[in-house]
Amino acid sequence: MRRRDFLKLVAASGAGAVVFTGCDLSQFGDGDPKREFQIQSAVDNPQDFALGRDLWYATAYPGIAGGSGLIVRVYEGRAKKVDGNPDYPLNMGRSTALEQSLVQELYHPDRIGGPLKLKGDRGSGSFSALSWGDAQNEFNSMITAGKGSTLLITGPVSGSEAAVVDQFTKAIGGQHVTYEPEERIVLREAMRRVFGSEHLPAFDLGNAQFLLNFGAEFLNDWISPVHLSIGYGAFRAGVGGKRGRYWHVGPQLSATAANADKWVYINPGTEGLVALSLAQVMTSQGLVDKGAASSIYNGISLDDYAPDKVASKAGISADQITEMAKAFAGAKPAIAMAGTSAAAHTNGLFNLTAVYALNYLVGSVGAKGGVMLNPDSPLPDVLPNMTGGTSYRDWKPIVDKIKSGGTKLVLVHDANPVYGLPPAIGLKDALGAGTKVVSFSNFLDETTTQADLVLPTLVTLEDWGLHVPDPGPGYPTVALQQPVVKPFVDAKSFVDLLIGAATTAGGSLPWKTNEELVRTVVGQLQQAGGGNITGVDDPKEYFVTVQGQGGWWDSNKAASAAPTAPAKPTNAAEPKFDGNGEYYLLPYPTNSLSYGENSHLPWLQALPEPISTNVWSTWVDVNTSTAKKLGVETGDIVKLTTSTGSVEVAVYMNPSAPTDVLLVPFGQGHVIFSRYAEKRGENPFAFIAAQTEAETGALAWAATKVSIKKANKKVRVPRLEGSVPAYQLEEFPIIEVEAAE
């Protein structure tokens, strides 16, 4: 055998270490000794790589904005990489860290491999495996037993899943509650009050010139981060004419606020007051039409909110308010936005309505570069829109009913209320022996460990679905989710299980499986007409095309929400705080872990929180001078005491933290939630006071006061930043800045 033949053989047999650089595939084996395979190139040895075939599939993820379009790279039946779907209007090829991490959810080492049955006491966390046949039988008997008094708890659902949930709820005669971040409930109510819209808004940031944001984390985890980030990119790049200017108003220099041209600190909960004050300045100085203002702020005497009256309450100067008003009114189109912590106060609804109403004053509602309202679903019956979550106040009777035994069966999917609701509500204890609990979950989390039966469900990349994003891009949109890999574990689609359960409960559903449902509804979409796919008649081809595109959308059918004057905004109110600590306690959702629902993904755990760059832990951001006053520095453990309890967390000295606000991130404190999340840090939901927003009843998680005490312990806070506060060297800035023209 000649040497070359031997080498060819080695290469053909796929010996792993063979590296072929300096050669190109098309010329292999053409007998030129210069192009012979080399076992190892002398020097030019860039990367150990082998070629193979990869496939990209379009699918969708309902967890962000109710449906974001993805493309997934699949290699030999394994999902390798998730990216944004370039065709899908909300993503346009872009993605977030969370979407990138979906492969980790799929291949998570602690994913539940098959049905589990409680063994021993509830909450003991010990389960025994059982076959799907047995599990199905057990589940069916529970459904039969629980008919008429069943509670289905899910995360926010829309589209095909929501349709099935509706059918199921009807069939079993139970109640469906949605668990969603509480401040979003306030936001939805504000949308109704201000814009008369049932849906979350879209913002035409790309064409806007000025953005006044009251605390909304729109670049990180607020409603539709990718879409808003794309808009922000266009806003900054000056697509709409010139570079947009962004001012952030709020109690925290958050990861989003750091991008603002100017951050104006105001005391927590005073966003609404400042907004009214802005309105007062704008109207009194003739910057906007006075008549419009009187109808918008109907019944509120704006002059009571002149800057000098508001300033001290908000913790800023009257000049700042005036300056802000002038800037806002002076640059058109301008957008006012509010959310996240602004909504999580006892006066959250007032804060939001007062701010969003400002959009009317500058004429940005429904206009180019303004607030765009989203239309209804193209097929409201089979693809319902997302509806709001259940507020904390509404959770109380539900929990009481469970406690009293009025609810026989509790089904939980894609929600972890035991973790996410303050313990004061007593949900965990309410799940007594008389109530059967079934969890459709992939991971043992706080709620799942309370279940009698765990039925693992398919994760995003394994399942079918049609989702109506909320907020949408401003026109009707449906995202198609399809399995890109075969199920990695022995799990079933939640929708399939629900269809089965509904049938068991006596319902008659037009679809037998989730896939059938999706195919049918896409057919209905085709019949409805319009949309991104034209000229395709064959239903099969149509479906395949929708699969390839990742969804259906019709950009010609933008919502025609008339900029009518809003319903009367809520009554002006000042925030109320619980407890008598001397500091405000401001928990905040982080860009990666959000409210803790994704803490099991190691990439997200290891992703530095943008401002502090801390990872894997809970800490409290303390202002540098406050820390000096307290005699603590980064790494010192402090004890935070609220009216509901106290926790010990490490200090991170943060020069941007307000002097009288202590910031604690959400996301950690899981008792059990896979190896990457459990027994790590503290859960702020567990020690905030259970205050509610006055009108919506949503949990006001930012309405707590706290006291801080040094505990004589030290830890090393895991973070990306080095051991000194990162200020730039004056002569050699890493980040060069130039003034705007």
Binding site: Q40, A42, V43, G722, S723, V724, A726, L729, F732, I734
Partner: protein
């Protein structure tokens, strides 16, 4: 300066062979204590091989730490050998005689110890030898000679080879002495090693010529070794490291610490082997004078380094210098460098009375090496902790327990090997001592009798 003492030749031989023939209690203690530390050292190295460099305290960008500092230190100590044996031989300084052998042996062992450190400090030590030394060319892969890390082992191994040759050449007559006085396996060993030495004139001429030639050749290696060690740092662009003074500065610092270590060794040999008749006060006196000059030159270069790092007021350098001056533990180290390395020992060495005080010389020499170890740390580590304007990445390095054990181990390894050596070969050159006896003369000026030596002119 050299007092003449007439000792019978037999007595000289017997007394200088003491460590070979007898194991004193101090040697037993030494073997046991050092052996224990070495066991811990071996365990630490094995632990690090098994788990990886992760067990150290290194981080990004502080990629080099204790082991590199210690490497530089031991290379520095090794410079005592050539300084004493070669330079003093070439300049015909008589007082070198009792120290040359010990200093050369210390050089050999500290070089070996030093080279261990960068070797085990690499990420994949099992491949290091294979890749760095081009002993196999069939794959056409050469090491990159532009890298100081290739020059470095080349220079160090040349130095080591030279040192071993030098020790061997200068030990042959003594081996022959041992051969004639031993039995058993030792006899066999010495017979082979003595190369048929018969004490004839031609052999002596060859031996002397080789010794001189090697001494002259090794002078250039002497300078190159620590220059190249300094280039490991100054060829990079790191602020404070990238400075042209480091090469001579490292060399002079090496001589400072090396000669001080030689003093320590001289005292220890007096105490352990009872060589009081051979290692005498006047030797300490002479070496003390040398140290004053060397230390002063070292301080001059130290000041050059500091001043011209601050000279341009480049914020990148200033940031490192500020940390060195203001922050723990660098402040402490700076104090150690100045006070232990210069301001305590040098004023003491200025006085003849103190130079002849053995205990004082012992402690001052120990002090110098504490200062010099700190100096190497002070030089090497901060440059990485404050590397360029990435204040975000600025970090703090602290050694792990494994590193500390390894460093302690190196301090045990060199004396341990030295003691093993002295169990086989005399640590003080017998023939040189005898030759010295002949060279020493006296001269009468008036009533005074002045020590004198034989000279060519």
């Amino acid at each position: 300066m050299q007092e003449r003492r007439n000792l019978p030749q037999m007595e000289v031989i017997q007394e200088l062979l003491l460590p070979v023939t007898r194991t004193t209690m101090w040697m037993w203690i030494g073997f046991i204590v050092l052996g224990t530390i070495l066991a811990a050292f071996a365990f630490a190295v094995a632990w690090m091989f098994y788990w990886g460099i992760g067990v150290t305290g290194l981080n990004r960008p502080g990629m080099w730490g204790f082991m590199i500092v210690d490497f530089v230190f031991w290379i520095g100590i090794s410079h005592a050998g050539v300084m004493i044996s070669a330079i003093l031989r070439l300049t015909q300084a008589e007082w070198r005689r009792p120290v040359t052998r010990a200093a050369e042996v210390m050089t050999m062992f500290s070089l070996m110890t030093a080279m261990t450190l960068p070797f085990i400090h690499t990420g994949r030590p099992w491949r290091t030898a294979y890749w760095v030394f081009p002993y196999d060319f069939w794959r056409g892969i050469f090491p990159d000679v532009r890298s100081a890390l290739v020059m470095d082992p080349s220079a160090v191994f040349t130095y080591l080879t030279g040192t071993i040759l030098f020790i061997y050449i200068t030990t042959v007559p003594d081996i022959a002495t041992l051969r004639d006085r031993s039995t058993g396996w030792r006899k066999g060993l010495y017979r082979v090693l003595a190369l048929g030495w018969q004490n004839d004139e031609r052999q002596w001429m060859i031996q002397a010529a080789t010794g001189f030639l090697l001494a002259a050749l090794m002078l250039s290696i002497f300078v190159s070794v620590h220059s190249i060690v300094s280039w490991d740092f100054s060829f990079s662009l790191d602020p404070v490291w990238h400075t042209s003074v480091w090469a001579p500065y490292f060399v002079i610092g090496a001589v400072h610490s090396g000669v001080s270590a030689a003093v320590t060794l001289m005292v220890l040999m007096r105490w352990m082997f009872g060589f009081d008749k051979y290692i005498r006060e006047e030797h300490f006196d002479a070496i003390g004078r040398l140290l004053v000059v060397v230390a002063t030159a070292w301080v001059f270069f130290f000041m050059l380094d500091v001043f011209f790092a601050l000279f341009n007021q480049d914020p990148r350098e200033t940031a490192v210098m500020k940390m060195r001056f203001e922050q723990w533990p660098y402040t402490l180290m700076l104090v150690l460098i100045f006070v232990f390395g210069y301001f305590i020992p040098v004023p003491i060495w200025m006085f003849r009375k103190f130079r002849r005080n053995i205990k004082l010389m012992f402690w001052t020499s120990i002090m110098v090496n504490i200062g010099m170890w700190s100096e190497r740390y002070w030089l090497v580590v901060p440059g990485l902790e404050r590397k360029y304007e990435w204040t975000f990445d600025w970090n703090f390095y602290r050694p792990g327990i494994v590193e500390i054990t390894i460093i302690l181990g190196t301090f045990a390894l060199v004396p341990f090997l030295f003691m093993c050596f002295s169990k086989i070969f005399p640590p003080v050159s017998i023939w040189e001592e005898k030759e010295g006896q002949n060279f020493l003369q006296e001269i009468k000026v008036g009533k005074a009798s002045i020590p004198a030596i034989v000279r060519e002119f």
